[in-house]
């Protein structure tokens, strides 16, 4: 049974704040930070945007790109760590806003930055088993970094939606297989009711990101019997510009392979949207027959790896909705005061 991506859509809010501006507030060394993180600015949601509105815009872009009848969608799953409600799903808001209701199932996902790819896997299962015709998986976030904390420099806003199906003539990219590597590792978390997450500092590196990404990637390569050089592109979860480069090197992927998908320097870490954003940016310019290797990582911890082959249909549908480059090309820069207001860091009466 062939399963794959019928369509995809991305959305990134227009506002940006530069590393220098955040550093100015806390008296940090902006140059050192930029060199260390390889992130120069991050996206900021507008005052009336949240993970739900971003998920809707990404989903609507995916629907516009595909031209598919929304009533065929049998499942909508949204992954985020900044769902607007603790109880009441984002997925039903998205489903209503794209006209997929009522004959469908929905639920929200959370697994830190890999909630979006976990949703993709769930859709693959439902579609592959014949339970549904099409499934929509979304990763969207307006992630919060505590003021003055290192994560504040990279916690950004954005989302990507993937429409999963099995009708070969409709697939823009085939997902040959997926493999996940999951353990109970407390490298980063947020307790109920707390506004900002906690993280383990350097603990999030090796025991977190690198262990799971490398094991996840190697596991899929072994399972498929493929090597890094069999792929044209690679995408790794991008919490900053350094980690995916290092992971690529550790696994034997090249700088050129990861280049098109590496968007974090310009928009920051979109959390549940991060790996999917890299996949979207890669699909935006991939050619039919190109192979993409993607590995998402979510703290907590786990990785989802995917082996993807682009089909002819990508050329047909690509330009029916904005590409990632088009979405991020006209940013509006704001200062910390405005950023704090937009992110709800200022408690209004």
């Amino acid at each position: 049974m062939t399963i794959g991506i019928v369509s995809y859509g991305a959305y990134v809010p227009r506002y940006r704040i530069k590393i220098e501006e955040i550093a100015r507030l806390w008296g940090d060394d902006a140059e050192a930070l930029k060199n260390g993180l390889m992130v120069y600015e991050k996206s900021v949601p507008d005052i009336d945007e949240d993970a739900a509105t971003i998920a809707v815009e990404a989903a609507r872009n995916a629907m516009a790109r595909s031209g598919v009848d929304p009533s065929r969608i049998g499942a909508v799953y949204t992954g985020s760590e900044s769902h607007p409600y603790a109880v009441k799903p984002t997925s039903t808001i998205v489903a209503q806003a794209i006209g997929a209701t009522p004959e469908m199932t929905a639920a929200d996902f959370e697994f830190a930055c890999k909630a979006g790819t976990a949703a993709v896997q769930a859709c693959m299962g439902l579609v592959g088993s014949g339970m549904i015709d099409l499934g929509l998986a979304i990763g969207a976030d307006v992630s919060q970094g505590a003021p003055g904390d290192a994560l504040e420099y990279t916690a950004a806003a954005g989302g990507v939606a993937c429409l999963i199906g099995r009708n070969e003539s409709e697939l823009a990219a085939i997902i040959e297989d997926t493999y996940s590597f999951t353990t109970d590792t407390p490298d980063f978390w947020r307790r109920e009711g707390m506004p900002y997450p906690e993280h383990g500092g350097r603990f999030t590196g090796e025991p977190g990101y690198f262990k799971h990404v490398t094991n996840g990637a190697k596991g899929l390569l072994e399972k498929l019997g493929t090597k890094p050089s069999d792929y044209d592109y690679a995408v790794f979860h991008q919490p900053n510009g350094k980690f995916p480069r290092k992971a690529a090197k550790m696994l034997g992927f090249t700088k050129d392979q990861i280049a098109p998908g590496l968007v974090v320097p310009k928009i920051g870490n979109t959390y549940s949207g991060s790996c999917l954003m890299g996949i979207a940016a890669t699909l935006d310019q991939a050619k039919p027959g190109d192979r993409i290797f993607a590995t998402a990582f979510g703290s907590g911890a786990g990785s989802d790896a995917f082996s993807i082959t682009v089909t002819d249909r990508i050329e047909e549908i690509r330009n029916r909705a904005p590409t990632v480059s088009e979405l991020i090309k006209d940013p509006v820069y704001i200062d910390y005061a405005r950023y704090a207001r937009h992110k709800g860091k200022i408690r209004l009466a």
Binding site: R14, D46, I47, D48, E49, D50, A52, T53, V56, E57, R60, P84, Y85, I93, Q96, A97, G99, R341, L348, A349
Partner: protein
């Protein structure tokens, strides 16, 4: 701000610009009306989903915000004429300095407001200027 059933009843209308059209006289209505203003009881209303494109008829920059819009001032409010004909009132976001009478706009999905920290969040449609 609003009550739960009152908002819920209008979700499709707010999220997806669902309105009506009178088959008798051809006029489009957004939001959907109970009775055609031209034909009254003789009219026949059918559902219609608007494209979301239009132009600004008039606008203002509101400095003293409405209830529920505290913390957002100044914001742009406009009367927008949808391409199919009907007009609506909406916040216009994005480059509000560039707004003029006649500016073309398109719809986006945004938060309209919320009932405080514990209450319901209201979503709906706002508009952004598009370059010609």
């Amino acid at each position: 701000m609003s009550s739960v059933p009152r908002f819920w009843r209008n979700i499709g209308i707010r999220y997806n610009l669902e309105g009506t059209r009178c088959k008798e006289c051809g006029e489009y209505f957004y939001p959907p009306r109970n009775v055609c203003v031209n034909c009254r009881r003789m009219g026949e209303l059918e559902p219609y989903k608007f494209k979301g494109t239009g132009e600004i008829v008039s606008y203002t920059l509101i400095h003293t915000p409405a209830e529920g819009f505290e913390g957002q001032a100044p914001y742009a409010l406009a009367i927008i004429k949808l391409d199919e004909g009907p007009r609506l009132t909406s916040q216009v976001i994005g480059d509000i300095d560039k707004i003029q009478i006649g500016t073309r706009v398109k719809s986006v999905f945004r938060k309209l407001g919320e009932d405080g920290e514990r209450g319901m969040i209201y979503y709906g449609t706002k508009f952004v200027p598009v370059d010609a």
